[in-house]
């Protein structure tokens, strides 16, 4: 079985400061990892993914994520947060043999001006 844990329900950060949203996963086989963002009353928008290769993945809107195999983590980062980054962030995983994404419970990011 595959699973994702997002240990923080909410992350608060001041505008201009770096942000990190944490994600750990469990999967048999090689993990395919994804980050999505959800704005109020909207669907999920794809931010970035890790399939293979460099452990640091760059995505949309200045976001990046670091894959750490030994710690089974895939934390989302941004060097300088914007108020407009305030939203709900979901980490998701699947292994190569399955098509279904398994999502974490989500982390609400609040960026204060």
């Amino acid at each position: 079985a595959q699973s994702v844990a997002q240990p923080e329900d909410q992350v608060n950060v001041a505008e201009g400061n770096p942000l990190t949203v944490k994600c750990t996963y469990s999967v048999s086989g090689n993990p395919y990892l994804f980050w999505y963002v959800q704005y109020p009353n909207r669907g999920l928008q794809f931010l970035l993914k890790y399939i293979t290769g460099d452990n640091l993945v760059k995505g949309s809107y200045g976001f990046e994520a670091e894959f750490n195999k030994s710690q089974t983590s895939f934390h989302l980062k941004k060097p300088s947060a914007l108020v407009s980054d305030s939203a709900l962030y979901f980490c998701a995983v699947r292994d190569g043999g399955r098509r279904a994404l398994t999502f974490g419970s989500g982390t609400r990011l609040q960026v204060q001006p």
Partner: protein, 114 residues
């Protein structure tokens, strides 16, 4: 280039009724997945359709069924609605090319069961 579209946006039904939700995939995509997102939770996988067949199914009862049409669009049907079926239903499309296909989501259909 249109993204994934879903209809209707909102729907209100009563217990015991049946509902059909519709999804049109992103241009060039051939695979449709459906997810249920209850309030305050992450999306849960219902099933995936490829080449007009159900390719994978999550832990949902048989009341949930689907269909994919030759133009790759898809429907989700839910019979004998329960209060607990109230949720945001998300459709995601992807292009099946090996195992690295990325799923792109539509805006969702908000179903309320009274």
């Amino acid at each position: 280039d249109a993204g994934v579209t879903q209809s209707p946006t909102h729907l209100i039904k009563t217990r015991g009724q049946q509902v059909t939700l519709r999804c049109s995939p992103k241009s060039g995509h051939d695979t449709v997945s459906w997810y249920q997102q209850a309030l305050g939770q992450g999306p849960q996988f219902i099933f995936q359709y490829y080449e007009e067949e159900e390719r994978q199914r999550g832990n949902f009862p048989d009341r949930f069924s689907g269909h994919q049409f030759p133009n790759y669009s898809s429907e989700l049907n839910v019979n004998a609605l329960l209060l607990g079926d109230s949720a945001l239903y998300l459709c995601a499309s992807s292009w099946t090319s090996g195992s690295t296909d990325t799923q792109y989501f539509g805006p969702g259909t908000r179903l309320t069961v009274l």
